[in-house]
Symmetry: C2
Subunit: 256 residues, 2 copies
């Protein structure tokens, strides 16, 4: 079975200017890995229509699933939805069921909130889009073919992602085994680690130095879909750490 693939497009000047620390990539990457849909590329792009349109069209042709975050609120810099419509060459028009849901939600607020032109933009979708309605807001994300358009606010994005997740055709989940050891030096074990990688070409073996109050060292992480290969590789990694005179510890190093 061929693994499906995914790409993420993070849309927003605030990430590119350094104002905002992206908090969505890690969540989406982790959840997609669990679903067996490896995230293969991320692009962070500005609120520029031509850039959004060209990027969506390039990326949706190259990956099984595409996710976008950001730019679906009510303000002038929220242009993702209309750009996705232009990317697909379809009209961008009020989606009546979404408008009704939003109006009902607004009427229940205390004090009530009125549907105005700005808020109506959030009920305006590319023709043919399927709304993604989550528990955090009445304003929808949407799916257009293989492109899933989500909010940038992490709490809302996560809720939208969990609505989308059951609709995705997952692959074999990617599992991982991590070992770490204080005092380990990458340059000292690199050659032995290369040999392990060469013996398990289907696994992705990574080496990550860490610098913590509890000591510096290296984490060695094997990832892949074949659990018996993962077990065997983990045993070889433990052995190479011991051969260097250090004591391997299961798992990632404790957080700084």
């Amino acid at each position: 079975m061929t693994q499906p693939t995914a790409a993420l497009i993070i849309i927003g000047n605030e990430v590119l200017s350094g104002r905002t620390q992206d908090a969505n990539l890690k969540f989406i990457a982790t959840r997609l890995g669990e679903l067996g849909i490896p995230l293969r590329e991320v692009r962070v792009i500005p609120d520029v229509p031509e850039t959004i349109i060209a990027t969506v069209n390039e990326i949706r042709a190259a990956f099984t699933y595409v996710f976008t975050t950001g730019g679906i609120g009510p303000t002038h810099d929220d242009i993702t939805s209309e750009c996705v419509a232009r990317a697909f060459g379809v009209p961008w028009e009020v989606h009546e069921p979404s408008r009704a849901i939003m109006e009902a939600d607004y009427a229940r607020r205390d004090p009530p909130v009125s549907m105005n032109a700005a808020r109506l933009r959030m009920a305006t979708l590319p023709r043919g889009a399927e709304p993604i309605l989550c528990s955090e807001t009445s304003a929808p994300g949407f799916r257009m073919e293989n492109v899933h358009v989500m909010a940038g606010v992490p709490r809302i994005m996560r809720s939208m992602f969990e609505v989308i997740a059951p609709t995705l055709q997952g692959g074999t989940p990617v599992k991982s085994r991590a070992l770490h050891a204080n005092g380990l030096l990458e340059g000292q074990i690199a050659e032995a680690l290369t040999a392990v990688q060469n013996r398990f070409p289907a696994l992705d073996i990574g080496s990550y130095p860490y610098y913590r109050a509890g000591g510096n060292g290296v984490a060695l992480v094997a990832k892949g879909t074949d659990e018996s290969a993962l077990e065997a590789a983990a045993a070889e990694i433990a052995a190479l750490i011991r051969a260097d005179g250090k004591e391997p510890v299961e798992g990632e190093p404790p957080a700084a």
Copy 2:
């Protein structure tokens, strides 16, 4: 004067798998903004030679300055340097001055560290590259034309960036003015904010909801190089917040 532009390529399976939270984008974006070199695009790509080579070649043709992070250590998954050599079509060869610096550093360690084949990879650079030597490690980053190759470890990356910074031809620094108000709703002020954006087309005005223990609200941020326009826009933003019955506060909202 045309503003120079920059792009960042984050190289590493560990970011795409969700193992590692990227901690470099925000720093680089902020520092480049201060230098008047707006960051215009970021790509996160895996440790796959063809992807690295194609991305470096596409991006270096499109932006004034390119920065990469990750993949210059001693292990088998550190392939950025040889991929940059292939992108430029030059040999990848031992850089003797870098080897000498690393050997001298290793000899001073207690216990001494030996130069082996894995560590020698870190002194191997594309022909014609200019090493970037920082205070955090004797293993160099390097510049190849407009491409600056840096480490992925944040402490080392920051040190390398500050070595590079004085060599960049900066533009007019991007300044910003932020105002925020608890209780503000984006949908309520969106139309007035659009009018401000339209009156100051050279500024980039963003609207960012926040959700904090101290209250929810919206931060409105104007960015640009024209300080008098920024002042005038900030005054109009303060007025539109007051017109909505809320009290504008200077600056970003306090951290959660």
